[in-house]
Symmetry: C2
């Protein structure tokens, strides 16, 4: 390391990362204590501490109160997946958002929905089909069911101006959600709506939400080929 | 609320959730202070505090130091996505895991890979093709490239007994990763390996990792129809 200028905690952090990358300190190894490192680098112990703290936060090392700091064996095991409003997702791409409600009907909850949301036989739901467009190109076909027992206010909303996702965020927030993502082949209707060839591979995201134990909604969001859901750590 | 038994913080939490669900306290509303709630429910202020803390942790309410506690407008915006080893993912389903290395070769980095990982023209990579099975049924086809400049130890590993994911976790941990998920149609080779019909919709997960700024690996994981990636909040 250079000593021409004052050594910053970032310099220390880079050097520690380099040693871990080069396996000078292999996974599972205990790294020298802060005092030893401070002496080696000729810096204050607080500088070393800050570098080690940042490495610990990113999961590269693990700090144990008694046994010191170890290079992590399984450094990162979780990514955070943002759940954006589709409008914001489209706008974040710099594209113009447009929304179209295709259909709206109050219906008896279909069997699959009653099973999934544990609804009673008599349950009424609002069934909505919507299209979200980015620069006039179909971006997402949304098929949604809202539990009218949990969200009676939805009966009074046409969903012509505002999409159900955005409306629900303001009117029926959730405390629990389940997400599933899968690949499927576009059926005839979906293909027509998404302007793709029938049978093309589409990316399907499904979401169920609850508030205070009550099922709120189930939604299926279908995206045309080329759609990628991305995240990073 | 019942007063037959001692009121627990869970009772308070349920009641607060109910009021939020029923929009007695709508999104954005400031809820009564802890002292007022403690008086209303006839419990210690610490009991209310614990209930409110749990609601805040789940994102249903937001605590502001000066303005008190508000019902959240956008209650949950992120899910945590577990990134398990494929072996653990299969074992968690109660299925027997099996692994098969299909091919292994040191090659010049292909163009797409050099572009994605910003590798120099001369870069050598280890190209691996593997199959992961659950109860003898193909679960994931893995195609992977390992940057030999960053992980020279991979040259010495046959990957016949241990999958590259598991080996890398122990030998080249990452500090940064990018993930992408998409739907695709199975090509002829993939379809044969996964024992599905060519052109079927497959779920593709891609991952790139870095340690200390150095690209480690790029992997494409292809799953047969029916595969679902799930998470919850």
């Amino acid at each position: 390391m250079t000593t021409d200028r004052r050594t910053s905690f970032r310099d220390i952090k880079s050097e520690l990362e380099r040693r871990i990358a080069r396996r000078i300190w292999p996974p599972g190894a205990t790294i020298p204590g802060e005092e030893a490192l401070a002496a080696e680098f000729g810096v204050a112990r607080a500088t070393v501490n800050r570098a080690v703290q940042e490495l610990a936060r990113s999961g590269i090392v693990e700090r144990k109160r008694k046994s010191g700091t170890r290079v992590a064996l399984y450094p990162v095991r979780e990514a955070r997946l943002a759940i954006p409003l589709v409008r914001k997702e489209i706008e974040a791409k710099g594209a113009a958002y447009a929304y179209s409600r295709l259909s709206r009907a109050v219906v008896a909850a279909p069997d699959f929905l009653r099973a999934r949301l544990a609804l009673p036989d008599s349950a009424k739901v609002l069934h909505l089909r919507c299209l979200h467009l980015a620069d006039r190109t179909p971006f997402q076909f949304e098929e949604r069911w809202i539990n009218l027992d949990a969200v009676p206010e939805a009966r009074g909303e046409a969903f012509e101006e505002i999409g159900p996702n955005e409306w629900l965020v303001e009117n029926a927030p959730f405390s629990r959600a389940e997400f599933a993502f899968r690949a499927a082949r576009a059926g005839r209707d979906e293909a027509a709506l998404l302007q793709v060839v029938e049978g093309e591979a589409v990316f399907v995201a499904e979401r169920m939400t609850w508030l205070a134990g009550k099922p709120i909604t189930f939604v299926r969001m279908v995206h045309p080929p080329g759609h990628r859901m991305v995240t990073e750590i």
